[in-house]
Subunit: 201 residues, 2 copies
Amino acid sequence: MPKAVAGPEIERLIQLLARMPGLGPRSARRAALQLIKKRETMLAPLAEAMRVACERIMVCSTCGNVDTTEPCTICRDPTRDPSTLVVVEDVSDLWALERSGAVTARYHVLGGVLSALDGVRPEDLNLDSLVSRAADPAMREIILALNATVDGQTTAHYVTESLKGHGLKVTRLAHGVPVGGELDYLDEGTLTAAIRSRTPF
Amino acid sequence: MPKAVAGPEIERLIQLLARMPGLGPRSARRAALQLIKKRETMLAPLAEAMRVACERIMVCSTCGNVDTTEPCTICRDPTRDPSTLVVVEDVSDLWALERSGAVTARYHVLGGVLSALDGVRPEDLNLDSLVSRAADPAMREIILALNATVDGQTTAHYVTESLKGHGLKVTRLAHGVPVGGELDYLDEGTLTAAIRSRTPF
Ligand SMILES: [Zn+2]
Ligand SMILES: [Zn+2]
């Protein structure tokens, strides 16, 4: 704990900011100072936005998304394809896929991936609710949109096993060259996958 | 403007977080999500700390420091040496010097440095108030604790000129090898300065 140099109100703000992902103690000090200097344009609006978020935002009990309604906007959207679920690790992945516009179905947020190292076990993930949702007679396909990491793939296998016997198609995202990606920056595994899954031009 | 995927309350929080120094749009999304997930332990306390900071923190009209009292704690501290002022660019430099414990005097925050590139002119800095404070008959020394950059040194020269005629000693921080610093990572200017200012062992 470094020597406190500002008043307790500023120190408290710095300490809390330093716990945010992406900000260390040093950048938390800079951020606090910036916020204080721009009280009307930054600090006051951010304080208010956080208060509102705090009061209104909740986790969707159906899919694990965060929203201000329960169930969330996506779960309540009647135009979404009811025959498919896209399984993601985290809400940030759901957001990324929504930005892409490629998903017309609903999601299921696992809330993590299995990890022996971090001690994440199957019961720590939202797996039971996934199995329940998958049992819906309208369900046809489960798309596993998990990170292409060891833990992500271990989880993909576990989820696939858990869903056996429901007669569902279980798919995963394609591997390949990222759009705009340069070949000589890609690892061999990606290049091999891209060659194997090549498509007609 | 990327497609909004979360509700307006979350989008607003992300947009405001993205304007904080050290956080871009991507890390702002991650930070917002983290805050929402840890509502009780992070989002609520941070919202409250910001509200309190917003209400109570002000800029000291004497020195430019930020504090919850006016004048600030440092300016009101009767044990501080009244014969010396330490001139800094920003409050963050004041904080850094206070953490070092090496300053027993008070400060003067310029609020920037002269910069032709950024269009910062003398009238944009807290220079008039510095000249007024320097005119105090008790004043003996002005320590220029400005960054060792071109703009910092230009500003140091300008401040020195502005203070002429008050019979004050104007000093600046020593150049040299940082404590714990490795020689072969230092530039030649620093090494030359360190050799020239060498001290008996
Ligand atoms: Zn939902
Ligand atoms: Zn002050």
